[in-house]
Structures are given as C-alpha cells and as structure tokens.
C-alpha cells in the first residue's frame, strides 16, 4: 500500500494491484483508479508543463473539467492519444502515459525560459509581436511558434483503430448519473418511458460515490446508489451507458453521445471498435451534469499540489487517496469546510483553513473548533513556494497587515460552484445571472429539456434527488441527512500586498491566462467578453474554460465597470470534451467512406485489367491497357480499333428517367428546349435541357417508346439533379399535367457497340427487330430481344460510327456483354473506356455538359441554337434566353482549335489570348475545354470557349503553357467526318 493510500476507503479494489508507467517510470495503482488518483496515491502531483510558459503543473480536479493534467496516452504504434485528462483515464495493467510540453524531461524543461521572460508574453503577445518584418515569418517567427505551440504530439501514422456509430431513440435521455440523474431515471422508468441514462465515468453515482456522512431515506448513500442501480439495470426500458460522454446537443433533442469501449482494457482483439458514437433522438432531455468547483485566482495558484477542494474530497472518498499529508485549505465558500473535515477525519493534517470572508456561520465555526483546525478569517494566500510541488504558502490578512507562513504539501482551494451549462448552452437554452450563487443558471428552455440538480443551481443531494424525480415524472420526496451546502462570496481580486505586476495569478491554467492578461485586454479596448476571450485565449483550450470562464468573467466585468449580467457569458460549443476524429467518422472509413457504384459489367472490366476513374461516385473503366501500354498508347489503339472495325463500351452509368403519362409530350416540351411534338414513337432525339436562367443544364438522347412514354437519358453525373429538376417543376409549376417520372438508371445495363461492324456483330443475337438500314435508321429505337433477354435497342452514335446502344435489364448485363465480346473476336472487337469515348466524341465536336459548358453557356454560345425550338410557346429557360445579357455581342462561343504544331496537345483549362506580347494583366479571351490526341486524324484537336469565337474563324490565337506559347487556329468544332457519312454503313 502506497504512502498516500488510505486503506478501507473508496471504491478501489485493494486486492487488485495494477502496474503502469508514467514517463517511463513504473508505478502501482489499484483496480478502479484513474491515472490521476493512482499518481496521487504515489505522491505524484507534477504531471505536465503549461502551454505557454512551460510552468510545472499538477492535478487540479478529479473529473473531465481538469485543465492541467493532460497526458499522452500510449497504446502502441499509431495509437498515441494526446491531451488525455489523467483524471478520466482508467488505469490497467501495462498502461503507458507520458507528460506533455516538456523537453528534455518533465523536471528540466528548456521551454521554461518562456516562464522567466514571461513579462514579454502578455495577452495578445503573438498578435503584437509576430507582425513584421515579413521576412521574419518563415525564418524566425513560424519555427518559434511551431516549436512552442500545440498541446501534445500529433499522431504520425493513420489511426489503426476502428470506430462505430449508431442511431438511438428514447422518450427520456438523462445526461449525468449523479443523484439527480439516477432519481430521474428511476422515476421515468416507472412511467414506462424508454430511458437512456449516460455518464462519462466508469462508475455511475457522481458525487454519491465519494459522499461521506450522507443518508438517503435512512440508507447510507452508497447503499441507496447500489439499490437504485440494481432497479435500473433490471428494467427492460432503461439503458445505462457508462464511459459515455454527451458531447453535443443539437436541434430537436438530437444528442451525440460518445461511448468509449476499449481504452480501459489492457488487450483488445483486432477489429473491435474503440469508440461508438450514439446519435440519440430523445423526446425529453434531462440534464443532470452537476456543477464544477471554481478555483481561486491568487498569486502562485498554479503550483503542483494546489487543487480544488472537492477534488481532494473525491480522491479520498472514491479512491481512498490522500492528496497530501499537510494540507492548507483556502476558500471563499462553505463547501470547502466539508472537504477539510473529511480529510481531517481521515487523519490528514489540516494546517489551516484560510477564508477570505470575515465571518462564517456559528455551526461551521464550531465544527472547525471541534477538530482543532487553525482558522484564519478575512485573509488570503499571498504567495506559494516550492519548485515542482508546493511546499509552503504565505497567508496575508489585509486588515492587520499580518503575514503567516505555513508548510504544506497540498493546498485546496474553493471559489464556489459553477453549474455546468455546456449542453444546455448547445441547445440554445436561455441563462440568467443568479446573484446569490454568483453564477449563471438555466432560464427558459429552447427544447423539451430541463436542468436538474447542481447544473440548475440546486446544490445538495436532497435537492438533486427531488428535482430529478420531478423531472422524471415522479412525486416522491426524499429525506436526506447531509452536511449543509452553504454559501460563499466571489471577489474579482484577492487582497495581496505584493504588487500586482509581480503576481502570477492564473485564471485559465491550460492556456496560461492570468488575471493581469484579462485586465490588460480590457485596458487595450476589448470590452466584449467574446473579444476578451479571443484576445487572451481564456477558455479557448481543450477544456473550453470549464474551470476558468466564471473567474474571467468576474475579472473582466469589474475591469469594464459593468455588472456581470451585462457582460454576458461566452458561447459553449460542441464537443463538451475533446473527441477523436474516429468517433465522429464512426464506421465511415476506408471502403465505407462513400459508396463506390459499379456497373453490372464492372467485374468483367476489372478481370480484364482495366484502369478505372471516378465519375461522381461511379467508378468507370477509363482504358484497357494491353501488356505494358501507357494510357496514350491504349487510347490510341482503342480509338483506331473502334473506327476501323468494332468497339464495345459500358455506358450503363448514363442516367435514365422514364417519363410516362398522357401529358408526357407536353411535359417534355416544357422541360427541354427542343420540340417533341414531331417525334414519333420508335424514334430518338438529342435533348437539351436548360435551367430557368437559360443556361445549359444537361443533355442526352431521348427515345419515344410510345405515345405516352419516353425513355430519357441524362449525363452520368447529372441523373440526380435532372430528376430533381423535373420533379420540382412537375409538382409545383406543371401540376396540371398527367405525367409521372421513374428513375430507371439502374434498371438497364447499357452496352454501346460502335464501328463499321456493329450491325454485323449484333444481328445474330437479336430477335424481333429488323436491323436493316432502312427499317432501323439512325436515331431509332426498337424493343425486342437480344441473347434471349428483353432489350430496348437504340441506333445512336456518340462516336460518329455506326452505333447501337443495347439496353438490357441490369442483372443480365454481364452475360450479354460477355456473349457479344466473345462473338466480336472475329471482328477484333476492342473494349474501350471513358477516355476513348471522350476522344471519339471530341473528334465529332459533341459536347460534354460540365466540361465544355460551365453553367454560363447558352445553347447559342455552344453552337447549338438548332436545339432550341422556335415555335414553342413556353419551355424552361425560354424567357431568359431573350435577356439582353444573353443576346449581347462578345459572349464566349464554343469553337474548335487546331494547333499550328499538330503534335502539341493543349492543356485543358489553358487560357487563350489574342496577343501574347501584350502587357500583363493580359486580356483573356477564354479557355481550352477539351483537348486530345486524335489517332484517327494524326494530330491534336481541341475545343475552347472563346470570346466572340464564331466571328474569329481562321484567326490565330495564342495559348500560353508552361515553357512556351502555342499558336492555334480557330475552326468549326467538327474534326472528323463532318458530313456524317460513316453512319451510313450498310
């Protein structure tokens, strides 16, 4: 048993020693300890160095509010978590933890010079100092800041752990399993509500775990706790979640709760989730988060060994650990007396109780006297001593000027209590200033939520139990025997004879913000508390100022000269405590990050060694390299094979929408700029879709299957937005039309067969369709069978060659493809990918919406005025096309470009100028939209959007690219077979 362990106390298991290391040194704790309690049991207070001044720091609290004791938790390669609060880290055999912000070691730290020169580091120091000269930034300032800034080491490899997430639902969600939360859960469970009770600790009970001399309805507090927990665990309608932190409270009672599943377990089997994020929708939320004790802001209050009085109480009561042998208590609130008494009753020497108040209640005074503790009223601690741990303090009595020195190895402080309003604040609940408590308390709710117990400003166990019961829908009134909670005072400044410029009174321990810094910020003109916060960084560390906000507010309000309620509280934001990225990602890493959509034919392409590219979330075969070919060679071969004989292409990703109903044609006339009235069933037409603003939105071939049925195709990436666009107009503006839409993208696998031998290939497999040139002309569609399965067969061409698009039900796609590919061997059939598809279409000047257009291109700009019906009364985009801006001179037009040097392939996106020698900034005429090597033409081809392009035919323009500027001639964007004769293969 270590020196500071009090046997027979607390919830730890004395029969189960646990071995762990801190900074490489071996220690022993007990089952049930946190790292903090185990270190304290070994007499260790020093746990880290502070962020800015690298001052030695120790454990301040006993829960998740801890500002100081941040450690790196080392679970092995890739599994080092920085900034873990030692007060919440459960120990297990083999646990390794390291202190932070120190070099070369915790006891000797080079960065400590910041501390010596701390007069140079006032509030706003970084803003003021690292300004100029600019040349100092990368050489001096940035390396300096990088060296000094940051809490703990960032991980160097990707996280090897896996995480989980799940949605949850309940009638009542209770946050905090202290007396209020447990009472609420018991009451709600009786009302047959679905209840979820969450608590961030490993043990439920909150303050009850360490409560001394408390009786609830005649039962010892711990017995009542055990009984209540048994009731809850037996109830089918209650879920108790431990090690589960409610990190954020969002709209409509949606609360994120992160459950830590494995960090407390010595060895975890691979693949087991480390944390699970529960996304819980609750009918009602009961917040029972308790309160946080406030530190006192006095000179030397950050020395290791200075800690919250309630924390010392918890270490003794819950863990059986004495935080020191010789303890001074410094307080402005009655509650610290109870801590002093409990320690004294455990035979820990209380050197003195120092109270800033001149008077305390008679009962308290008697209790102090009964224990023969030295009580010094109307006084404050004026300084502390000790290098890496407190060894003494000086007490100053302002009224008499008297100074007394005490030796001590721990100093407990209490500045009163702050209700924990974090989640309430996330929910946008209102708050009001309670002058008696000197704290903000909840006011009107913004959600179906209520705060109970200490977080509502109702301190004491009886108050908590009764408020919890009421919130849970119960009527029971508890009778509790407990020490009086009492009251206290709050001062903005503690009397001290030492000149304030020489004091080190910390407000925010984690960000090293002192009382002076806050006053300086106010003097420099920052009056809003939100500005003071950002200028001083008070409350901006990983603890979000849980222990510091109220003290900072008190100091700022006095400095500004406004009452505290007029200064206001800074905003709390999720997460309540630092949260791993893994927990936020849940299952969504790797393959599950986003779906990868694959066509029915994709497995065949993969087996053939295709190289893939992402198109939206589709993955598509990009090209099919043959032994050692690069992309250029493969694409050149695929293009040639298709134009010479036969190519086969998987076009399944094309978006497809079935438009059906007696008013289908009227609807199509409204949604597309073309006219559909004249399109007969069995025929196809290229359709151009505009937005209401007149710009091109999408395009695709549309087949009229019947009088009242269209098979619409869209671009691969455009399917969802086109569907939405159509549904939107149909449900709102064109409600009078009897027509319906069904997305059929995935109903059909689409195999495009192109090349002079296309007809010859498919003929033997087709039933019920006359494929002859006259019976089945270009831009026709027929229904029949292919390879024995139903097909919608299109005769269309996106390549300029004789082409067919074979639509077959998806689950037949692969077999039909394989059958045709097999038969195609006699024509040297060549599978091609999206790159070859792009080249072949560019040779023909067919546009790709989104590549050759950018959302500001009208049909006329794209040279497609022919696709705008002249006689229609109305269609989406019609009126906008007449806007003066859209018919003005000088718009950019889509034209072709042929480089003077046929071997130069321009870069897509390259800018175009008329005169490369003009002064900078040059007058940009436009940019290259599509550019490829054309194997068929033996030269490069390009398309470009160029200002006034239609009027620049044969003009030579200049395209600057890295190293050189290329000349290119403006031409019509049809490079291959301009008369379309190749479609006429017999």
């Amino acid at each position: 048993m270590s020196a500071f362990r009090k046997s027979g106390r607390g919830m730890v298991d004395a029969s189960k020693p646990v071995n762990f290391t801190f900074d490489g040194k071996a220690y022993q704790g007990l089952q049930g300890d946190t790292l903090a309690s185990a270190l304290l049991a070994n007499g260790v207070h020093l746990t880290g160095r502070s962020f800015k001044y690298h001052r030695p720091r120790g454990i301040v609290g006993a829960g998740s509010e801890e500002p100081n004791a941040l450690v790196a938790f080392d679970r092995g390669e890739g599994r080092v978590t920085p900034n873990v609060r030692a007060t919440t880290l459960e120990i297990f055999d083999g646990l390794k933890a390291e202190s932070q912000n120190r070099w070369p070691n915790l006891k000797t730290d080079i960065g400590g010079f910041n501390n010596i020169f701390s007069m140079f580091f006032p509030a706003g120091f970084y803003n003021k100092t690292f300004k100029w000269p600019a040349s100092f930034w990368d050489k001096v300032y940035e390396p300096f800041i990088r060296n000094m800034a940051g809490l703990g080491p960032a991980p160097k490899s990707s996280d090897p752990d896996v995480y989980a997430s799940v949605y949850g639902h309940c009638d009542v969600l209770i946050v905090g399993a202290g007396p209020a939360g447990i009472a609420a859960a018991v009451a709600a469970a009786k009302k047959d509500q679905r209840v979820i009770l969450v608590d961030e600790q490993a043990e439920p009970g909150g303050g009850l775990l360490s409560a001394q001399n408390v009786e609830i309805d005649g039962m010892a507090a711990q017995d009542w706790l055990t009984k209540s927990l048994t009731t809850l665990r037996k109830a089918d309608n209650v879920t108790v979640m431990l090690r589960s932190t409610a990190i954020g409270y969002y709209h409509d009672n949606f609360v994120a709760v992160n459950e830590r599943l494995t960090d407390h377990i010595p060895s975890v089997e691979p693949g087991r989730s480390r944390e699970k994020l529960h996304r819980i929708r609750a009918g009602k939320v009961i917040l029972a988060q308790g309160g946080i004790e406030r530190p006192l802001v006095f000179n030397g209050n950050d020395r290791p060994g200075v800690m919250l009085a309630s924390a010392a109480q918890t270490y003794l009561g819950q863990y059986g650990v004495a935080v020191g042998n010789e303890v001074v208590v410094f307080t402005s609130h009655d509650s610290a007396y109870q801590a002093a008494f409990e320690l004294a009753d455990a035979n820990i020497s209380i050197a003195a109780i120092v109270d800033i108040r001149d008077k305390i209640s008679g009962d308290l005074q008697q209790a102090v006297e009964a224990r023969a503790i030295d009580l010094i009223l109307g006084s404050s601690v004026s300084k502390t001593s000790g290098k890496l741990r407190i060894n003494g303090c000086e007490v100053y009595t302002a009224s008499s000027g008297k100074k007394q020195s005490f030796q001590c190895d721990a100093l407990l402080m209490s500045g009163g209590w702050t209700p924990s309003l974090h989640l309430w604040s996330h929910s946008k609940g209102g708050i009001k200033w309670d002058a008696d408590l000197a704290a903000y308390v909840p006011e009107q709710a913004n959600e179906n939520a209520v705060c109970v117990g200490a977080c509502n400003g109702n301190f004491g166990i009886e108050a908590a139990l009764n408020a919890g019961t009421k919130a849970g829908g119960g009527r029971k009134k508890f009778k509790v025997k407990e020490p009086e909670f009492g009251s206290g005072v709050v001062l903005d400044h503690l009397p001290n004879y030492i000149d304030s410029s020489k004091q080190k009174a910390f407000v925010d321990f984690q960000n090293d913000v002192t009382e002076k810094d806050i006053k300086l910020a106010v003097r420099e003109g920052f009056k809003s508390i939100e500005h003071v916060k950002r200028y001083t960084t008070n409350g901006m560390a990983t603890d979000q100022g849980k222990t510091s906000n109220l003290n900072a507010l008190e100091i700022a309000s006095k400095a500004v000269g406004k009452p505290i309620e007029k200064v206001g509280l800074t905003t709390f934001r999720p997460p309540y405590t630092p949260t791993t990225f893994g927990a936020l990602a849940g299952y969504r890493d790797g393959e599950l990050f986003d779906p990868t959509r694959k066509t029915a034919i994709d497995p065949w392409a993969e087996a053939q060694g295709a190289v893939f590219e992402p198109v939206g979330i589709w993955r598509r075969a990009w090209y099919f390299p043959k032994d050692g070919e690069d992309m250029h060679a493969a694409v050149a071969r695929e293009c040639k094979a298709t134009r010479d004989s036969l190519g086969i292409f998987d076009a399944s990703t094309l978006g497809k929408i079935e438009v059906v109903g007696p008013d289908a044609t009227k609807f199509m006339n409204l949604m597309y700029s073309n006219s559909w009235t004249t399109l007969k069933p069995g025929r196809c037409r290229y359709g151009l879709m505009l937005r209401e603003d007149g710009y091109i939105y999408d395009d695709g071939v549309v087949a009229r299957m019947a009088e009242d049925r269209y098979h619409v195709t869209t671009t691969s990436g455009g399917a969802p937005r086109v569907y939405r666009h159509m549904e939107d107009y149909l449900q709102t503006e064109f409600q009078h039309l009897d027509v319906w839409l069904t997305s059929t993208t995935e109903q059909w696998a689409v195999i495009a067969i192109n090349g002079p031998n296309a007809r010859k290939l498919i003929e033997p497999f087709v039933e019920g369709i006359d494929l002859s040139k006259d019976a089945f002309p270009h831009m026709a569609v027929r229904e029949g069978k292919i390879c024995g399965v139903p097909t919608r067969l299109f005769r269309v061409s996106f390549t300029g060659e004789l082409g067919f698009e074979i639509n077959i039900p998806s689950h037949y796609g692969r077999t039909v493809w394989e059958t045709l590919f097999e038969a195609g061997q006699s024509y040297e059939i060549c599978p091609y990918g999206t790159e070859t598809m792009h080249v072949l279409r560019a040779e023909k000047g067919f546009i790709i919406v989104g590549q050759d257009t950018d959302g500001t291109v009208t049909p006329h700009d794209a040279g497609m005025g022919w696709a705008v019906a002249k006689k229609k009364k109305d269609f989406v985009g019609m009126r906008s096309l007449k806007r003066s801006d859209l018919i003005a001179d000088g718009r950019k037009h889509l034209i072709g470009l042929l480089t003077d040097d046929p071997n130069v392939v321009l870069e897509e996106g390259a800018q175009i100028v008329a005169d490369p020698n003009q002064p900078i900034p040059m007058d940009m005429l436009g940019h290259v939209t599509s550019s490829y090597w054309s194997e068929s033409l033996g030269r490069s081809v390009a398309m470009a959007l160029v200002k006034d392009g239609f009027n620049r035919m044969d003009e030579t323009l200049h395209v600057p690219m890295p190293g050189t500027t290329h000349k290119a001639k403006v031409v019509k964007p049809v490079f291959y077979d301009p008369k379309g004769e190749r479609l006429n293969v017999v």
């Binding site: 087991r272 929708r281 779906p595 029915a600 319906w740 997305s743």
Partner: protein, 181 residues
C-alpha cells in the same frame, strides 16, 4: 447462369443475433395512379393497393407498398412476372397511370434476428421501436449514404431494398457493423 446480382453475403452475416440474406430474383414495378381509381384498379387486376401512405399489403405472392401519395411499388416472386406484366398492361390501357418495370433496378436484403433493428439503426435514423415502426410499415429512407426502401415484415424481420450499385456498400456496412454485435 444469366441472372447475376453480383453480391456475395459472407458467412459472418449469418449470425444468431442478426442474419442477412440476399433476396432472390423479384418482379418489381413502380406504379403511379390516382387514388380515385384504386377501387376500379382492384376490380380489374385483383391487386389491393393500400391507401395509407407508408403502409403495405401482402397477398399471396404479391406485395403492394404505398410509398407516396400516388405512388406504389408492386413486388412479387419472379415466377409471377409474366402474369403481372399482362395485368398491369391492362391497367395501363384503362387508367391514367404510369407503370414502369424496375425489376432489375433494385436488390433486396432480408434482415432477421433479435438485433435486426439495431443493425438497421447503424445507418438509418428512424425509430425502429415496434410502436413507431410496426409490422407492415414501409418507407423510403436513408442508410448512411444509400437511399433505401425499408419494410418491416415481422417483429424481428425487415426487408431493405436499394438500387443495385449500392448493394455492395450496404453489404459491407452490415459486415462491418455486425462485428460489434
């Protein structure tokens, strides 16, 4: 074998607490018709389309799901396809309506077991309590990044359909999440 949904279900998804199987070939139709024609539609086809949104009616080998104010899915055993094709074609001729064959657009999973609803809640935000989502309820909703059609077929059994290219994504999600069960 001509018909190929290209989704394998690993053995790990055949657990005691939850089991996932791939639905066999089905005939599926998207049917849009005005609610005023439902009675006549039933007379003609024998198919009872539920009037209440997000409910379903199962009869012998055909299930009709109401997923919108004027939208139904008709899902049946594959062997009934020829019969349904004819029936629905007849209806198309008589009523102002829209019938579209989507048999191959979707793939379906059956999820059964005591933790079936828990597996659904891994990615679907709806409340799966039996009171909130009773047997027979059906709806389109979300499972993480996939749009799904969800139907409760029993206290501990569900069907999930999605577009075919999202099938492997759902399967992978089920595999990963079921490790935590």
């Amino acid at each position: 074998m001509l018909f190929d949904q290209a989704i394998d279900i690993p053995e790990t998804l055949k657990g005691d607490a939850v089991s996932v199987t791939l639905m066999e070939e089905r005939a599926r139709y998207n049917l849009r018709i005005k609610s005023t024609d439902l009675t006549e539609f039933k007379k003609l086809t024998g198919l009872k389309l539920p009037r209440k949104i997000n409910t379903s009616s199962a009869a012998k080998d055909v299930t009709c799901l109401c997923v919108g104010p004027d939208e139904w899915f008709v899902i049946a055993e594959a062997k009934s396809k020829a019969k349904l094709d004819k029936l629905l074609a007849k209806a198309s001729n008589k009523f102002v309506c829209s019938v579209t064959d989507i048999s191959h657009r979707n793939v379906g999973f059956e999820i059964t077991g005591a933790k079936a609803s828990r597996l659904i809640n891994v990615g679907c935000p709806l409340d799966m309590a039996i009171e909130a989502f009773p047997v027979g309820k059906v709806t389109r909703t979300i499972f993480e990044s996939a749009a799904i059609l969800l139907r409760r077929t029993g206290e501990e059994s569900f069907q999930i359909e999605c577009w075919r290219s999202f099938g492997p994504y759902l399967r992978d999600f089920f595999v990963r999440a079921s490790r935590d069960f």
